[in-house]
């Protein structure tokens, strides 16, 4: 019995699939693909499956990770090919590796936000100035209700740039079990202080550990 790390992307229409639905979808895909997944031994046996960091609804993921436990041996490349072939079109498995780090090692996630803009240069300056404000209070939802927090120190690795007809934000935000920041907080900030941002696309580009090395 060994654990493999499955790397997949979730884009297009699949961004509207919730985490729970994704788990169901993956379980069925593994069955169709005849991957020897180990089942939990409880009364209601479930396929053993761990997602490193669930993705919020509406966000694309380019390098998402899920751990599977195999009951019998199957080569990583075969798990990858079979699982990919059994998945719906907008969910794509591109690699299966042996886990190097524990899922708990994840400390950051990188995001790219694209905001359509009539005046990218000017708005870019506005957002930069806003992000430089200290303190920069936002309302974060938590288990204990809404929480006021200062976003400024969390934006050390965030850059804002202007493209042809949009504004682009590249952010490396705290992620993981202890402290997790949703990129929508940045948008909340902009909407409160500057202008409305109706049609943003958000892509999670990768997962990182505390040393800002790629999660493996």
């Amino acid at each position: 019995m060994r654990t493999v790390r499955v790397w997949f992307s979730k884009t297009g229409r699949a961004i509207y699939i919730s985490h729970l639905d994704l788990m169901r979808c993956m379980t069925r895909a593994a069955r169709r693909a005849r991957i020897p997944v180990w089942y939990t031994q409880g009364f209601n046996a479930r396929a053993y499956m761990t997602f490193a960091l669930p993705l919020s609804l509406g966000i694309s993921g380019l390098k998402e990770s899920m751990d599977l436990r195999l009951e019998h041996e199957m080569e990583n490349a075969e798990v990858c090919a079979r699982l990919d072939a059994a998945l719906p079109p907008d969910i794509h498995v591109f690699a299966v590796t042996d886990p190097v780090m524990k899922p708990g090692a994840i400390a950051y996630a990188s995001y790219q936000l694209k905001i359509p803009s009539p005046a990218p240069e000017a708005q870019c300056e506005q957002v930069r100035a806003l992000f430089a404000t200290d303190p920069l209070f936002v309302e974060k939802r938590s288990k204990h209700g809404p929480l006021q927090m200062n976003l400024h120190p969390e934006l050390r690795d965030t850059t804002v740039s202007a493209a042809e007809d949009s504004l682009q934000i590249d952010a490396l935000l705290a992620a993981g079990g202890n402290f997790n920041l949703n990129p929508s907080l940045l948008l909340q900030c902009i909407e409160r202080a500057l202008f409305p941002v109706p049609e943003v696309t958000i892509v999670r580009t990768g997962l990182w550990n505390a040393d800002k090395k790629p999660f493996q």
Partner: protein, 595 residues
């Protein structure tokens, strides 16, 4: 949400006929419907035809769509219903009629058939409610009677030819009306007596005097999909559904399906087994339902389960059997279905006293029920659900109180059962729905209890329950009342439906959608008395609005059955003896089996 696994994508440039299969309820409900899965796959086997799925948006989604001017669209292409040639609805229950209108409205397609003069946007419908579709005849151009696998395709072929040759809608409909199983309501004139009852139904345009339902005789050869669309989100029946037979041997007198789907036609266990295997492989589901109107009546159930458990057990696939009869249950079956997962057990005695169970021809005794639940308790089950109806013909308050008594006897049987394993404790649910007289049943002439009578009986039931182990539920009387009106309605209900739609009636099968007040306003505005349809006793001589529909069962048989009911006389099931209902005219199925 489109883009699911196994959904069929085609290039619209390559297809000649675009067919929108509309389920007039939510995605979660519609995606669970087996008929849609079968027809979706069957129609898509033709490369000139593209069948796509459309569902009714939930109330909040509809509000957003209307606000943003997004028309109702099909899940595969994302195209508006306006882009389709044929817009097909499946009519599973009367309370979805307003959704049919609302879905057309959301796509900007004229609701009334007469406002759609050309061949495009042909609105058709199938499903059990077609047996009396008169309330919908203002809106729908063509109906399919019976099983659709063949007739739907025949109509699509004709449509394809007519579209190519630029025929008019009238020319198409005239030819379509000649296809067996097709009902074109515009070709029938209905006249009424002064008392409001139907005088005559006269065919025109060469349409047949009676339209006969279609059915498939050889279930082993019948088309069955090897793939189901696998949804992302959880639907009501989220599993492989395998049909083991059509029809029902029983002939319970309240049950429309029991008469509409005659005669019983079984699949062989080999075919069922192979189809289940293929579906598990293509979908990845780990649960199979063996579906039919009464699965424990499948003559090959044991051999089938023996065969299936050989691969389902090692593959961690569970098998569930819905529609179990109290008398079709033994220890062996019990052991088989609890191999993987265990849920509660549900039985439907339907009535609380033996007399009333004889009236409805349920043919289940109290001893059988208690015997079965005791077996179940021994097998470790402790959650039992019992389904009943209130408002059945000849029912008295004693019969209603009998429901609670029967529940109490189940509780007593639990405590009397010594050798049961220790469990979570007993839970008995008695659920009472309201009886709704339906066409093509021996009770089609019966009045429905008024809402006041029903509420009184519900009160009597709740007062008769004395144990904390028993939970009693009942259905809302007002929904059942509107359902009864439309079940046996005629063409004069068309304007009422339109008015109800205008007043905002939709999702009437849901508590969040239904409004009795709006419905009563609609009846009032149209000058139609709903009690005429729901609460009136009809005479056997009266011309019924659905008399031009032929489902194979003779009216004389239904009258004889009704008289047996009044005498509390039961009728043997189709396997015991033939009662000459008329279904033998189809030339197959159980009518020709050795007894």
């Amino acid at each position: 949400m489109g883009g699911e696994l196994n959904s069929v994508m085609k290039d619209k440039k390559d297809v000649e006929v675009r067919f929108a299969f509309c389920f007039p309820d939510t995605y979660e409900v519609g995606m669970s419907h087996l008929g849609m899965k079968i027809l979706y796959s069957a129609l898509n086997t033709k490369d000139w035809l593209w069948c796509e799925r459309v569902f009714a948006p939930w109330l909040d989604m509809e509000e957003q769509m209307r606000r943003a001017h997004v028309p109702l669209y099909a899940l595969e292409s994302g195209d508006s219903l306006e882009d389709f040639d044929i817009i097909a609805f499946t009519l599973q229950y009367e309370m979805s009629y307003t959704n049919v209108l609302n879905m057309l409205d959301l796509s900007g397609i004229p609701l009334l058939a007469k406002d759609r003069p050309s061949l495009e946007h042909l609105v058709v419908a199938g499903g059990p409610c077609v047996c009396n579709c008169e309330p919908l005849t203002d809106f729908v151009d063509l109906f399919f009677l019976g099983e659709g696998e063949e007739v739907d395709l025949e109509v699509c072929e004709l449509y394809r030819a007519c579209k190519r040759e630029h025929r008019s809608k009238l020319e198409f409909l005239e030819q379509a009306a000649q296809i067996p199983g097709v009902y074109v309501p515009a070709f029938y004139e209905v006249t009424y007596h002064e008392d409001g009852t139907v005088q005559a139904i006269t065919p025109t345009h060469g349409a047949p005097a009676r339209v006969k339902k279609r059915l498939l005789l050889d279930m082993d050869q019948a088309f069955y999909p090897d793939k189901f669309v696998v949804p992302y989100l959880e639907i009501v029946h989220d599993r492989v559904v395998e049909e083991v037979f059509r029809g029902c041997i029983r002939g319970c007198r309240f049950c429309q399906a029991g008469f509409l789907y005659r005669p019983v036609r079984e699949k062989s266990p080999e075919v069922v087994d192979a189809q289940c295997r293929a579906l598990c492989e293509s979908t990845g589901y780990d649960e199979i339902t063996l579906s039919s109107l009464s699965t424990s009546d499948y003559s090959q159930l044991q051999p089938l389960l023996d065969r299936m458990t050989q691969w389902t057990k090692p593959g961690k696939v569970s098998i569930s059997l819905p529609s179990l009869r109290v008398d079709g249950f033994d220890q062996d079956l019990l052991d088989k279905i609890k191999t993987v997962r265990r849920s509660g057990l549900t039985f439907a005695p339907e009535a609380g006293t033996q007399r009333l169970r004889d009236v409805i021809n349920k043919n289940v005794t109290q001893e059988e029920l208690l015997d079965t639940v005791t077996k179940a308790f021994r097998g470790g089950w402790s959650t039992i659900k019992l389904y009943f109806m209130i408002g059945l013909p000849t029912e008295t308050l004693d019969d209603v109180r009998g429901i609670a008594d029967l529940g109490q006897q189940v509780v007593d049987a639990y405590y009397a059962c010594q050798d049961k394993p220790r469990g979570k404790g007993l839970k008995v649910t008695v659920s009472a729905s309201a009886f709704i007289p339906k066409p093509f049943t021996p009770f089609q002439w019966e009045p429905q209890d008024t809402m006041e009578q029903m509420r009184e009986k519900q009160k009597a039931l709740s007062h008769a329950v004395h144990s904390r182990k028993i939970t009693a539920h009942w259905h809302d009387a007002s929904t059942s009342f509107i359902e009864a009106v439309f079940a046996r309605g005629d063409r004069r209900l068309g304007p009422v439906l339109l008015e109800a739609h205008r007043l905002g009636c939709k999702m009437d099968g849901w508590e969040d959608g239904f409004s009795l007040e709006k419905w009563l306003t609609a009846f009032q505005n149209c000058g139609v008395d709903p009690a005429f349809y729901a609460n009136r006793r009809r005479s056997f001589e009266e011309v019924l609005p659905w008399d031009h529909m032929d489902y194979g069962v003779r009216k004389e048989f239904l009258i004889a059955e009704c008289k047996c009911a009044y005498a509390a006389q039961t009728t043997p099931n189709c396997r015991e003896a033939c009662s000459a209902c008329g279904a033998a005219q189809y030339g197959g199925g159980i009518c020709y089996a050795d007894r």
